[in-house]
Symmetry: C2
Subunit: 415 residues, 2 copies
C-alpha cells in the first residue's frame, strides 16, 4: 500500500507550529508496512487543499490528513473530502452526543458551531476522540481511502493508535510486529560496521538502525499472519543482536533511559538521588517524567555554586580548591554527598562545562564528569561532549544527563 501525509493548517505553513504529526504518522505507517513517498502541508485554503488531495489520490491508495476538523468556518478538510468523493454531509447523532458530554465533562459551554463537528460524510467510519471535540473519520471510495485526523498532536496520536493502526492491519493479511533494541554508548558508525552485513541480509524480520540524541535504536520488524507468529520470528534475532552488542544494549522495548532506570529501581526496591551541576536539574526532571518516579526518587540537589556543593552536599573545600568544581574528585564527592543526605541507594552526579563560556584549554566546553556512588559501584566517568559547534549548550547538557541516567541504570542492575 502507498500512502501520503497531508497536514492542513496555516499555523504549520507559517512555521508557528512544528509539524510533529507528519513524523508521528510516518513512523506508524512504517510500522504497519505502508510506504510513504510524500508529505505536504497546505494552509486553511479549500482550493489548494482540494488540488493537493486530488494530486495525492492519483498516486497513492491512502491519504492521511491532519487538521481542519475544528468548529470554525475555516476548518474545511471534511467538507473538501466529502465533495471530492461525491458524498453528502449528514448529522451523526452519536457524535453530537459525545461532543456534548465532552463539554459537560470539562465544564465548559458547548457553542452552536461545535455541532458542525458532528456532520459526517455519508458512510464514513467515525473515529472517537476521547481527548477533544473533533472526531476523526475514514472516507472510502473509488478503491482509495482518506483518513482525517484532528490537528492537536495529543488527540491525533491517541486516535492513530486506537483506531488507525487496527484499520491498517485489517487492510492487510499480514501483521507486523516491531521490537526495539535500545543502545547507548556505542556510536552509530560502530554499530553499523558490526551489523551492516546482518542488516543488509535481513528480510523477515528486517533490522533498521536509527540514531538520535546520542542514542541508537535498532528496530527488528517481522511480518506474519498473526502477531504471535511475527513476534516469534523476531525472538531469535533480538536475542542474537543483544548478544553481539552486549552491555551497549540498555533495554528492549523500553520507552527510554529514564523509564528503564525507574523500572529497574522499582524492581529492585532501590532509590536514586541526584546531585547536578552543569545539567541544572535535567537529570531529576527526566527521572520525574516517569509517572510513579516517587517510588524511587526522593531527592535531587542542583548545586550550581561551589558554596552549595560544600554546604548541602559536603564536598570538601580543599577538593574544590585543589581540583576545581569540574573534576573527578568533585563529581565523586557530590555523588557520595547526595546519597548520604538522602539515604538513597545510588547517588549520581554531574559537573562540567556546558558552555558557551567558561572553557579553558585544560577544561574545554563539553568536558563533563559523571559520578556514581552505591554500595556495589563507585566510579567517575569523564566525557567530552562538544563537537565544536556554536549553540551546543543544550545538547551538551542533554547528552550529559543521558550518560548520568545510563550509569545509574548500570548501578541499579548490579544490586
Amino acid at each position: 500500500m502507498k500512502a501520503e501525509i497531508l497536514c492542513v493548517g496555516t499555523e504549520l505553513l507559517l512555521g508557528d507550529t512544528v509539524n510533529t504529526n507528519a513524523a508521528y504518522i510516518a513512523r506508524g505507517l512504517a510500522r504497519a508496512g505502508v510506504a510513504v513517498y510524500h508529505q505536504s502541508v497546505v494552509g486553511d485554503n479549500p482550493r489548494r487543499l482540494r488540488e493537493e488531495l486530488e494530486r495525492a489520490l492519483k498516486g497513492s491508495d491512502l491519504v492521511i490528513t491532519t487538521g481542519g476538523l475544528g468548529p470554525t468556518y475555516d476548518d474545511l478538510t471534511k467538507e473538501t473530502v466529502a465533495e471530492l468523493f461525491g458524498k453528502k454531509l449528514v448529522l451523526n447523532e452519536e457524535c453530537l452526543q459525545k461532543i456534548r458530554s465532552f463539554f459537560e465533562r470539562i465544564g465548559r459551554e458547548m457553542t452552536k458551531n461545535n455541532e458542525k463537528q458532528a456532520m459526517m460524510p455519508e458512510g464514513a467510519i467515525v473515529l472517537d476522540n476521547p481527548n477533544g471535540t473533533a472526531p476523526g473519520l475514514i472516507v472510502e471510495g473509488k478503491g482509495k481511502a482518506v483518513i482525517l485526523l484532528p490537528g492537536p498532536p495529543r488527540e491525533m496520536a491517541a486516535m492513530f493508535e486506537s483506531r488507525v493502526m487496527p484499520y491498517l492491519s485489517n487492510q492487510s493479511d499480514k501483521t507486523l510486529v516491531s521490537r526495539n533494541i535500545h543502545v547507548f554508548g556505542m556510536g552509530e558508525s560502530k554499530v553499523e560496521s558490526i551489523l551492516r552485513e546482518k542488516m543488509e541480509k535481513a528480510e523477515n524480520p528486517t533490522i533498521a538502525p536509527y540514531a538520535k540524541d546520542g542514542e541508537m535504536l535498532l528496530r527488528v520488524t517481522a511480518s506474519a499472519k498473526s502477531a504471535e507468529e511475527a513476534r516469534a520470528l523476531t525472538q531469535p534475532v533480538v536475542k542474537e543482536l543483544c548478544e553481539i552488542l552486549g552491555d551497549a544494549v540498555y533495554g528492549v522495548d523500553v520507552a527510554d533511559l529514564q523509564h528503564a532506570l525507574v523500572e529497574e529501581l522499582l524492581k529492585k526496591g532501590r532509590k536514586v538521588a541526584t546531585a547536578e551541576s552543569c545539567t541544572g536539574g535535567l537529570v531529576g526532571k527526566r527521572i520525574t517524567e516517569v509517572a510513579g518516579a516517587s517510588g524511587v526518587f526522593d531527592c535531587g540537589v542542583c548545586s550550581y555554586a561551589n558554596a552549595i556543593k560544600e554546604k548541602l552536599l559536603g564536598v570538601r573545600h580543599e577538593t574544590l580548591e585543589q581540583f576545581g568544581a569540574v573534576s573527578p574528585q568533585t563529581a565523586a564527592e557530590m555523588a557520595k554527598g547526595v546519597r548520604r543526605i538522602s539515604g538513597a541507594d545510588i547517588g549520581v552526579s554531574t559537573t562540567g562545562i556546558a558552555g558557551p563560556q567558561g572553557g579553558t584549554p585544560e577544561k574545554p566546553v563539553g568536558l563533563v564528569y559523571i559520578g556514581i556512588d552505591s554500595d556495589v559501584m563507585t566510579t567517575v566517568v569523564e566525557t567530552r561532549l562538544s563537537r565544536g559547534y556554536p549553540e551546543e549548550r543544550e545538547m551538551i547538557r542533554y547528552l550529559a544527563s543521558s550518560r548520568a541516567l545510563h550509569l545509574a541504570l548500570q548501578a541499579a542492575r548490579m544490586f
Copy 2:
C-alpha cells in the same frame, strides 16, 4: 514574492526526524514578508525530487530546499537543481579549501567523497557553512531562484540567518521589522477579545497573535524603506499594546520566561533558588538553559519526598501532617526554606499533583501551588492546570514551571 519549502530526506519521510527545518524557514520567510503556500517532503530519490521541484517552480518565485547536500551518493539535491537550470557542475577551489580546514579543525580525516561537496553549478552563489562541511548555495535562472540549505538544523539555521535573510531583503525595497510582546497569565481568547478590533484594523504595522504552551505572543510587524523607519513605526503600537495588557506583558523582544528572569536578576544583582516537588527539577533546568545563569542561580532542591522537604528545606513535620505536601502552607515553607539555606534573594517553590495517579476529589490532578519568598514579596498561588486529557503529566509540569518562572520574575522586578 511567493515561496515553497521542499525538504529532502528519507529520514523525514519515514518520520525518524521531525521536520523542524520547515517551521524555522517558514518563520523566517514570514519575517521577510515572503508568502509561503506549500511545504513538502520527498525522500532521497532524484526522480521525485525533480518532479517536486518542477511543480514548485511553476507556481512560485523561490524554492528553498533543505537536505541532500551531503557527501554520499544519495545526496542529489544540487545535481538535480543544476540539471533543471541547465548548468554544469564545476569545482569551487575556495569551497574545497574551506571543507579541508573544517576537517583539520575538528581533527578528523577528510575523505575523497567530501570533495563532491565543493562541486557547484556555474554561477551559483555559495553560502559558507561554519558549522559543517556542506556549503549551501543559491541558483538563479529563468526569473526564479532555488536556495539549497544543508539538512542538519544547526547548520541550516546559522546559514539562513547569516546569508538567506540578507539575500531576501536585497530582493525587496522594503525592510520588515518584527517586535514580540510576550504575554503570560491571560488566555488567548481574552487577549483576542480585548484586541480583536485593533488587530483587524492594523495594516502597517500588523498585529498577529500566537498561542503556545500556556503563553501568548503578539507580533507587531512593520514594513518600511529602512529598518530604523520600520522600527519607529512599531514603537507607538508596542507601547499601546503594553499599556492595554498591563502586567500580563512580561517582556518585549525577550527570548522566553527563563531569559527574562535571568536578565532581570542580573540587572538587579539578585539571586533565585528553587525548591521543586512536582516539577522535579524542570524550573532549575529552564533557568540553567540560559548561558550565564550561574550569576543568579546557586542552588536548587528537588524535594520529591516529604522527608527531604523536612530535612533539607526545614518544612515543619506538623505542616506536612496537617495540610499535606500539596498545600499552600508547604509551598510557602519550601520557598522560605530554600531561600534560607541558599542565601538567595528569592525562593520559588512548586508542589502539586502532576498525575496521572495521585489525584483526589479535594486535590485533583493538575492542582499545583507555587510559592515565592523574598524580602519584598511573599505569596502562594494556586493553579489548576489539568484540562481532563490523558497523558498530560508533562504539560502540567511544564505549565507549573512557567508559572513559577513568571512569579519569580515578578518578585525580581519588585527589587
